[in-house]
């Protein structure tokens, strides 16, 4: 075997191992979650666990129903999409197509900086700025679904903007020029040719935003009030507890009976949600590619 081949084989092994680390990590997390969470879920009763509306872990006998938390996660995530996605996409269009160079030089680094702000800082900002704002202008105590949605909407902006902007820039320029040549205005050409052409990238941005929003913990638990109550969408000024907050609020204390396994089982449900989102994403992508 020549020196060249040895190098080749070594490199191959190194790269294979690197690739495997990620897969093994996901596999281990999966095994750990399901091993610890599933027995508790079966013990409590899968149906009771998923559709129960009472969360009373310290009661005797305890009640573990996580429907309020599932809905809580869905509400704040949907709210975050409502606030974050339109602003994010418009911002991306602006940055890719309309932004003057000097302004871009300020905007781009600020968005990158925003992506690096720790979530606890976002949470504190929400607590001292957004919560009093919502309380004085909209009513309620301020710790609400709405506040959480606005804060999460802000937190997913960097993700949505950066990925959408990249995919807008990746669209071949001839499409745009073709539209202009056919007599379309600049705005029309952008919104009717470039944006649709970048659809899969924008979708990817939205899905990643959803992933970030549903998994966010620290900031959310500081501004949403954390009441484990089943809400309807019109109660968006009331507080809510998300699945992530539920886990982190009580994990430090949970050491008796089914409490800790029930919290891990909440993690299993969250994990399944994220898997569903990712599957949805790849289905959308495949459809898009086939066309």
């Amino acid at each position: 075997m020549g020196r060249h081949q040895v190098k080749e084989t070594l490199a191959k092994i190194l790269f294979t191992i690197s690739a495997c680390v990620a897969v093994v990590a996901v596999g281990l997390i999966c095994i750990f979650l399901f091993m610890q969470g599933l027995p508790a879920m079966i013990d409590i009763g899968v149906w009771e666990f998923l559709t129960g509306t009472d969360w009373r872990p310290t009661w005797n006998p305890p009640q573990f129903g996580i429907l309020p938390m599932i809905m809580g996660s869905l509400y704040v995530t949907a709210g975050a999409i409502l606030f974050g996605v339109p602003i994010g996409i418009f911002a991306a269009v602006f940055m890719a197509e309309f932004c003057p160079r000097p302004l871009y030089k300020v905007l781009k680094p600020s968005i990158n900086l925003m992506a690096g702000i720790p979530s606890v800082v976002f949470g504190y900002f929400g607590m001292v700025v957004l919560v009093p704002f919502v309380r004085t202008h909209l009513g309620g105590s301020g710790n609400s679904i709405l506040t959480g949605s606005i804060l999460l909407g802000m937190m997913i902006l960097p993700t949505v903007i950066t990925i959408s902007e990249n995919s807008l820039r990746a669209v071949p320029r001839d499409i745009y020029e073709g539209a202009i040549a056919l007599g379309a205005s600049r705005e029309r050409a952008i919104f009717h040719t470039i944006l649709p052409a970048a659809k899969s990238g924008v979708m990817a941005a939205i899905i990643l935003g959803i992933g970030r929003a549903i998994g966010e913990t620290m900031a959310v638990r500081m501004v949403t009030g954390n009441q484990a109550v089943l809400r309807t969408p019109d109660e968006f000024l009331s507080g809510v507890r998300t699945m992530t907050s539920n886990i982190v609020l009580e994990l430090g204390y949970a050491y008796s009976g089914d409490h800790r396994p029930a919290l891990i089982a909440t993690g299993v449900v969250l994990f399944v949600f994220i898997m569903l989102i990712n599957t949805l994403f790849s289905i959308l992508r495949r459809k898009d590619g086939a066309r």
């Binding site: 009661w59 009513g139 009441q227 507080g239 982190v248 609020l249």
Partner: protein, 285 residues
């Protein structure tokens, strides 16, 4: 594409306008703020005030906001003129962002806790593994806590010392590491105790973690901590594996926003607020 954006924008605007009008003119609803399930402060508060079901289960009403940790509790109450919450007196009395109120016309002061007139008070405990006992070093630290010097630290921090006429402590000259874990309420007192101890025995390192009462107890059970800190009486299931020692008495102050003009409440009113049976400030003013 444009059409959809128009729709979304329209919907957001309508929602904002509708709620903007609906929000004003409401009665002053009480925003009850509680701690998370498992917190020692919550456990003690619920037990003493009686916020329980007939068979003794924690029954803080579900609409109460949950503040994870003492600091979030203080910030939440400090930021909301309609809020009512509770926190350890040692913390609540030294923070002027909130105001402690009288319970049954008694203010939560050290004198009132010593003479037992203030209703909401609880022990600060330390505990150790029943089977393994205390290590020689940890025993020395515990001896210090129960000495005249240790109890002086307790009194200096605004808590009520549990031991009267405690003996003097003399330096042991030991070295090593002691791990302490548990209640975030006891945490700051423990830090001051540890500081005073290390002034006498500088070769001892004391690692203190304030992960919560339940966490500390399970750490002591599993041998991960020498000493557990608890801010409530131990449950029967916990007493099977932990031996408790009371180091101080702490009150729980009921706190409101400084702008709130309420002077005091009865224990009964506090109970009904946290059960969700009183929901408007005008009902108790």
């Amino acid at each position: 594409m444009r059409k959809y954006f128009k729709w979304i924008l329209g919907a957001v605007l309508t929602a904002t306008i509708l709620t903007g009008c609906g929000g004003s003119g409401d009665a002053d609803y009480i925003s009850a703020v509680t701690r998370e399930e498992g917190s020692g402060t919550r456990g003690a508060f619920v037990e003493i005030v009686g916020v329980t079901t007939a068979d003794g289960n924690d029954n803080v009403f579900v609409e109460a906001e949950v503040a994870p940790g003492t600091s979030v509790m203080m910030t939440t109450v400090a930021g909301n003129p309609l809020a009512i919450g509770y926190a350890s007196t040692g913390v609540a009395l030294s923070d002027n962002r909130v105001r402690a109120i009288a319970i049954d016309s008694v203010m939560p002061t050290v004198e009132n806790m010593l003479n037992g007139t203030y209703a909401i008070q609880r022990p600060f405990l330390i505990g150790y593994n029943r089977d393994n006992g205390l290590s020689e070093l940890a025993q020395d630290f515990v001896d210090f806590i129960f000495s005249a010097q240790g109890q002086e630290v307790v009194a200096d921090r605004g808590y009520v010392p549990f031991v009267q006429d405690a003996p003097q402590y003399t330096a042991s000259g030991m070295s090593g590491v002691i791990v302490v874990n548990g209640s975030s309420s006891v945490y700051s007192l423990m830090q001051h105790l540890s500081g005073a101890y290390r002034d006498i025995n500088p070769d001892v390192r004391i690692d203190i973690h304030g992960a919560g009462t339940g966490h500390g107890i399970s750490a002591a059970r599993d041998g991960l901590a020498d000493i557990a800190m608890s801010s409530r009486d131990l449950r029967e299931s916990e007493l099977e594996f932990i031996s408790p020692l009371t180091i101080a008495i702490d009150g729980i102050a009921v706190i409101v926003h400084p702008e709130n003009d309420i002077v005091g409440l009865t224990l009964e009113q506090v109970r009904n607020i946290f059960l969700g049976e009183i929901s408007v400030w005008d009902d108790i003013r």
